[in-house]
Amino acid sequence: MTEIALFGAIEIGLVYALVAIGVYLSFRILDFPDLTVDGSFPLGAAVCAVLLIAGVNPWLASLAAALAGAAAGLVTATLNVRFKILHLLASILTMIALFSVNLRVMGRPNVALLMQDTVLTPFYGLGIPDHIVRPLVVGVIVAAVVLLLARFLGSEFGLAMRATGVNARMARAQGVDTDAHVYAGIALSNALTGLAGALFAQTNGFADVTTGIGTIVVGLAAVIVGETVLPARALALALIGCVAGSILYRLAVQLALSADAIGLQASDLNLVTAVLVAVALILPRLKAKASRSTKAAR
């Protein structure tokens, strides 16, 4: 693997680390399997790209992308909480709808960012090679998100959100408005995904409606890899695990793709990812079964 490919993998890993953290929030903390991210990731990219072209400040454009993601999350949460549509289905509806919304936002299937200033522009002239600047800047943003989120989840509000996911009946008996916490959590999860989309557009120089396909699986893969390499109970460590998992996943993919002997093409990525996630989900079950049967034998 070349140095450029290595830093490229780290960079894209860091961008998707925000997706992984969002997926961790919905799947793990709220126990709400939310596929909205497949739509909110390109939504964030689209909103950010269109605003950048309109001359908006890149930080404001990124914030707007996060807010758009949050709005998408609120739609899913409303369909589920208010109208009792199954969470998976609710999120699929939002995701499908967002495909059209994203086309509307951009006015065409993809938008290129050529000369526009991005959050990275101020850092390009500092004498550090561009392919290192990008992961550095994204890394700082991810670190800030991890710190803020760890603090948030340790707050009274955050604790109530975690209780909502673990035992909603108990949480309600302790005075937690569980519905409000589902809204807040799913909005936050998709806000992070929208922000990831904005960073993706700015680091890669384009927004495209098809970039969303498989976002959820990539996010899940990162969460699962993170849980495997960093099996931590402490929340801050679990969040760091999501980041590590996302980077490791990208490095593994990069390795697989650059090893000609395996014969994989870039277009095989989704298949490889899906197989990886399926294996990671099946393994613990097989392990538990094996340990049960050895116990039974004794």
Binding site: S155, E156, F157, L159, A163, V166, N167, V176
Partner: protein, 265 residues
């Protein structure tokens, strides 16, 4: 003080499984009274407790707690006034959160939850002192996950959690039914101590007539969604389990005669 006026609850209205679970319960429970509730399966005990907690909203009638009409309040809103311990030790706490996190959740009951750290300041020390008083040695396990505790320990911690936010009403739904006899005795003694020390108005549902008479100062019997027996004071002190069984049979007979549908059924 709890005032319940003629509450009715029907499940599955208009379906073949329609069940009229509460058929007009009237009750006044003065502050600090410890009431035990008995009744056969399906008598409406849990529904009655649920209607006080807000899980089940009464379709008719009125519920007031400490002078506030809470009839239409949902569970989270009532939680500031009412604390509960469930029958299933798993139900009353979060297994994957630590003991101190569970306690912090309970301590914020009825308050707005903000962005301040849930376990900041001297919170931890306060929790440690409170849990040490249980005498279970849990003060050194505050960082352990709740799921690592035994059923009895979880019920004991749940009882303690019920007292952290200063609610004055405690609802116990067969909270010792899932425990072995020795542990159940321990939890019941702890219940008595906690109710006395915090002067809680308490309703304890139990399936044991012995427990119903041994604990508390008033006993209710529910049958077919109505209160069919309500004894306190000397009358209750003179009762024994056989008496209670006899009364139960007699009241059931009385209830059946006054209810045509039961005679036909």
């Amino acid at each position: 003080m709890i005032v319940v006026e003629d509450i009715h609850v029907t499940f599955g209205r208009g379906t073949p499984l329609e069940k009229h679970a509460l058929r007009g319960v009237d009750l006044t429970i003065p502050e600090g009274q410890f009431v035990t509730v008995i009744g056969s399966n399906g008598a409406g005990k849990s529904t009655f407790l649920g209607s006080l907690a807000g899980d089940v909203l009464a379709e008719q009638g009125r519920i007031a707690i400490d002078g506030t009409d809470v009839t239409r309040w949902d569970t989270p809103r009532r939680a500031g006034l009412v604390a509960r311990v469930f029958q299933d030790p798993m139900a009353g706490s979060c297994a994957t959160l630590t003991i101190e996190e569970n306690m912090a959740l309970a301590a914020a009951r009825g308050r707005r939850r903000g962005l301040a750290p849930a376990l900041g300041g001297d919170r931890r020390k306060g929790f440690r002192d409170r849990i040490a008083a249980l005498g279970l040695g849990l003060e050194n396990r505050l960082h352990d996950r709740m799921g690592l505790l035994s059923g009895g320990q979880r019920q004991a911690v749940s009882l303690l959690m019920a007292t952290l936010a200063g609610s004055k009403i405690l609802l116990l739904d067969e909270h010792t039914a899932a425990l072995d006899p020795a542990t159940a005795d321990f939890v019941l003694d702890l219940t008595r101590r906690i109710v006395r020390d915090n002067r809680l108005t308490t309703l304890m549902v139990t399936h044991s007539m012995r427990q119903a008479l041994d604990y508390g100062d008033r006993t209710l019997m529910l049958h077919e969604g109505r209160v069919v027996l309500d004894v306190a004071g000397e009358e209750r002190a003179g009762l024994d389990v056989p008496h209670l069984l006899a009364l139960f049979a007699k009241q059931r007979g009385g209830a059946e005669i006054s209810d045509d549908s039961l005679l036909i059924g």
